[in-house]
Amino acid sequence: MPSKKKPLGRRRARPTAAPKKAPVQKSKPLVAIYDLTDCEGCELAFVPVVEAVAKTCEIVEWRLTQEKRMDIGDRKIDVAFVEGSPMSAEDREFLGKLRERTKVLVALGACACIGGVPALAGTAEREKFMSLVYSPEYKPKSDTPALPLDTVVKVDYYLHGCPVLPEMAARFLEQVLVGKAPDKFGGYPVCLPCKAAGNPCLLIQGNPCLGPVSAGNCGAPCPTFGKVCYGCTGAVKGGNFTQMRHKLAEILGEEMAEAHLRIFLKDEKGKR
């Protein structure tokens, strides 16, 4: 009984949504690179990347290479990479403003993603260390520990690594520039490239390797060269931290195992 009269759902004359043609983009996408408190290793790793994609985008701000800021008018920045951790009111204000004029904000490197090595000093430790390192009258420039960017502003993508791997950064930049949503890093652990390289396993030899819970996008340089992985490329998706802790505790003892995990990794609960 095909009923023609009574529509069973509401119909609506349907304009075929959205403009038919996206406006042709004449100018190149604008890319900017900033740094906060950090070691600048990621920026360095970025030099060859930028060189490779220089033709497809315009680098508008990069303090390391420019004396004067370029005037980009009120155009928005398409992709901003921020390296390092905010540690002061000034930093936080800068990030807030940057967020407003940036389409895609990327945390570049371990410091920006999770606070990096400097974040190993928390608020309590900082007070203690501060008096060790500086004089009692000294007033710190920083008012927080090294914070991940996303404690201050919304971050669109995370490019982990200490330092970030040029190949990884290149692929990422290339993808955002073509309009492809970039790969999500951290789908497979360091053990994958490690085994693809045919390495003997350090864990089996009794060394505290974090390969099983760390993202393998780095390509496993450390285990390949016989050094344990510290997980500087971030945690692998669904990493089994409970078991990793057990295994590490066998090797290092419980307390040290925790400390070892903390150097570069946030665990499954986002705790560092």
Binding site: C162, K227, I263
Partner: protein
């Protein structure tokens, strides 16, 4: 920008890290203030096992991580009494040399040379002198490749451990590296000549100071001073002091209550390869020359390592951690770097002291800046500001290092 209600000018300089100059042009006094957040590495390493210490300290600086890495390792080795094999030492030296080439290249081409050539940035360099940019990139690529071949990664090495290495490069890799060096040598020479030409006779001021450097860049020697003194690097704390300044998150090195200079120029002066003229801008010429010297040094050490056979059983020597104190000193790209660690009997770090070249130079930079103002009274404020910025850059200060 002129701060409201004061006659102090603050301007930001293009350097590695965050810092700015505060100049009071009316009274000719200049302060260099470092704004980077305190990172407290000397605290962070406390309580860490020795093998984590030298993985953590390179994160002080991404521009000279190898220097920090090796300095830490040498400090730890001194504390435990470890003597690595000859091959390991040769390879470490090659890494350090490559690090110096890499760091100098970045500094000269990205930061300093554009000053002399009157352009704003490295991108400007691409437009104005693409040949020179090619030279820069070739040197950067070569030093990256060397560091990667020996250290496993170009930033933050991973093969180096206390006692030696986890892996030696293969004979093939060494041969490839040597070929690469041979190919790059003419670019190094071009870089050196470009520096000499760019700086030319630029000498807006002269001021006498003391120059400090290790006799041997790997640190197996005394520290020499241009005043003819010598001291053992492990006595650094008796010979140089670090002062906390309330306006800066970095400490300021002094000796006999005055500033002193470390770095390329100091190394060359103490080695008798450069005359003392008191013109700090010559540091950039010295850096250019060092690019050639250290590329050759990397070559010599790689050849030596290869001739020793890169034997697996010489990778690393065995040792037991023990209670002790050790100082590791070496010539980092920007000057003498000291790492001192205290360990307990199980190899856990109980205390650390790190003195970076930039921190040592800070007092001298301020003294030079004041001299520039005093010796250039006829110049406009804008010109003076420019001179001051160039001066700071000529030192190649690494702010990240100085605030560790």
């Amino acid at each position: 920008m002129n701060m409201a209600g004061s006659n102090i000018d603050r301007f930001v300089t293009k350097i590695e890290g965050h810092g700015h100059i505060e100049a009071d042009f009316s009274s000719s006094s200049v302060k260099l203030s470092i704004d980077e957040g305190e990172r407290l590495f000397e605290g962070i390493v406390v309580g860490k096992r020795y093998e984590d210490v030298h993985f953590i300290t390179p994160r002080i600086c991404g521009v000279c991580p190898t220097a920090h890495n090796i300095a830490s390792i040498r400090g730890i080795e001194a504390a435990f009494g470890v003597k690595p094999t000859e091959t390991a030492i040769a390879l470490r030296k090659a890494m350090l040399a490559a690090q110096i080439v890499q760091s100098h290249t970045l500094h000269l081409f990205f930061l300093s040379l554009p000053d002399y050539l009157g352009i704003d940035s490295a991108t400007g360099l691409a437009a104005k002198n693409p040949k020179l940019l090619k030279v820069a990139l070739s040197l950067k690529n070569a030093s990256d490749a060397l560091l990667k071949a020996i250290g496993g990664r170009q930033v933050h090495p991973t093969t180096t451990i206390v006692g030696g290495f986890t892996r030696f490069p293969t004979q093939k890799e060494v041969e490839a590296s040597l070929k690469l060096i041979a190919r790059t040598m003419k670019d190094a020479e071009a870089a050196r000549d470009a520096c000499a030409k760019a700086v030319g006779d630029f000498a807006p001021f002269h001021r006498e100071t003391e120059y400090l450097s290790l006799d041997d860049y790997y640190g197996d020697s005394d520290v020499l001073t241009s005043k003819g003194e010598e001291f053992n690097p492990s006595d650094y704390d008796k010979n140089i002091s670090e002062a906390v300044k309330l306006y800066s998150s970095a400490k300021y090195g002094t000796r006999h209550e005055h500033g002193f200079l470390v770095g390329a120029m100091a190394r060359q002066i103490n080695a008798g390869r450069r005359k003392q003229t008191g013109n700090t801008f010559e540091n950039n010429v010295a850096q250019g020359e060092e690019i050639v010297e250290f590329l050759a040094e990397a070559q010599r050490n790689l050849e030596k390592a290869a001739s020793l056979g890169l034997k697996r059983d010489e990778l690393a020597v065995e040792f037991e951690p023990k209670e002790g104190v050790g100082v590791g000193a070496l010539e980092a790209p920007r000057g003498t770097l000291y790492h001192k660690f205290w360990f307990d009997s199980e190899g856990f770090c109980t205390k650390a002291d790190i003195i970076t070249p930039t921190a040592q130079n800070l007092t001298n930079i301020e003294e030079d800046a004041n001299a520039i103002l005093a010796q250039n009274k006829d110049k406009s404020q804008a010109e003076l500001q420019r001179l001051l910025e160039m001066l700071v850059r000529a030192y190649d200060p690494c702010i990240t290092c100085s605030v560790h």
